[in-house]
């Protein structure tokens, strides 16, 4: 049997070094991946078309106390006529298990381009509301929210 020539100390040091760089990597990767996934989800929804910031307003509390029930309202500046109206609205999140949050289909008979619901937020993150207009353009609004009590805590209820 051959003896390992490396002193024990060095191996340990290497191990520590290796493990710190590993944790740094694993810590960084999900954050990057999530932002990418969010951008991908938005561009998939827009079928690759340009999504312009504006026209849409996503109303949500900046500081969320309870991530289980977060009221949101999405409004879009649109005359809501047969010729010019909002066809659909979608909301995407950055750090929940799934990027899709909720999607709405509207129409010229909808009358007022505003819709409200209540969502769950797993953690402090970005939210994007996207509106699909009848002329084929896509508009968005990005909001950052701070969540103090997250949804998805074990044993809720």
């Amino acid at each position: 049997m051959t003896m390992n020539p490396t002193p024990a100390l060095l191996t340990r040091r290497r191990l520590v070094l290796a493990s710190t760089s590993l944790t740094a990597l694993t810590l960084m990767q999900p954050a990057l991946a999530n932002t990418d996934e969010l951008a991908q989800a938005v561009s998939a929804y827009a079928a690759g078309k340009k999504v312009t910031e504006g026209k849409v307003k996503l109303e949500i509390a900046e500081l969320v106390d309870n991530g289980n029930v977060v009221p949101i309202t999405v409004s879009v500046s649109s005359p809501m006529t047969a010729a010019n109206h909002v066809k659909a609205i979608a909301v995407f999140n950055e750090k929940n298990p799934q990027r899709e949050t909720v999607k709405f289909d509207l129409g010229p008979r909808y009358g007022k381009s505003e819709v409200s619901t209540r969502i769950r937020l797993a953690t402090t993150q970005k939210l994007v509301a996207v509106a699909h207009m009848s002329d084929g353009t896509f508009w968005s609004h990005t909001v950052e929210v701070i969540v103090t009590i997250a949804a998805c805590i074990e044993g809720e209820d």
């Binding site: 029930v69 999140n93 298990p97 899709e100 008979r109 909808y110 409200s116 074990e154």
Partner: protein, 107 residues
């Protein structure tokens, strides 16, 4: 049958935009949450909501696990003629429920 709470005006003027608020009792189990034994609870959510006005689709929503328990929706429609609004919720495990409300439109 799940309990529902629908809030909408009974009468409206023609051309007026009315707001309809609807809630349904449903756990909206995400499918990402473990139970006390660490086993993931199977997903049980409402996936689709639609509102038909005298048969014509005026609003629909696609819901995901990120929608809160007892899903609440507030939406609008243009009052055009008297009739019935049909609200339908559909989801996992064959969940389906329909509620109707009537609206009378005055000139």
């Amino acid at each position: 049958m799940a309990r529902t709470l629908i809030n909408a005006p009974k009468t409206a003027k023609r051309g007026e935009v009315i707001e309809i608020r609807a809630t349904i009792g449903h756990p909206m189990e995400t499918g990402f949450r473990p139970d006390e034994n660490g086993k993931i609870l199977p997903r049980n959510i409402i996936k689709k909501f639609s509102c038909r006005y005298n048969g014509e689709l005026v609003f629909s929503a696609e819901m995901f696990s990120a929608v809160s328990a007892n899903p609440y929706l507030a939406f609008h429609t243009l009052a055009t003629e008297s009739g019935t609004l049909t609200l339908t919720w559909e989801g996992d495990n064959g969940f389906s429920q329909t509620e109707t409300i009537s609206l009378s439109v005055v000139a």
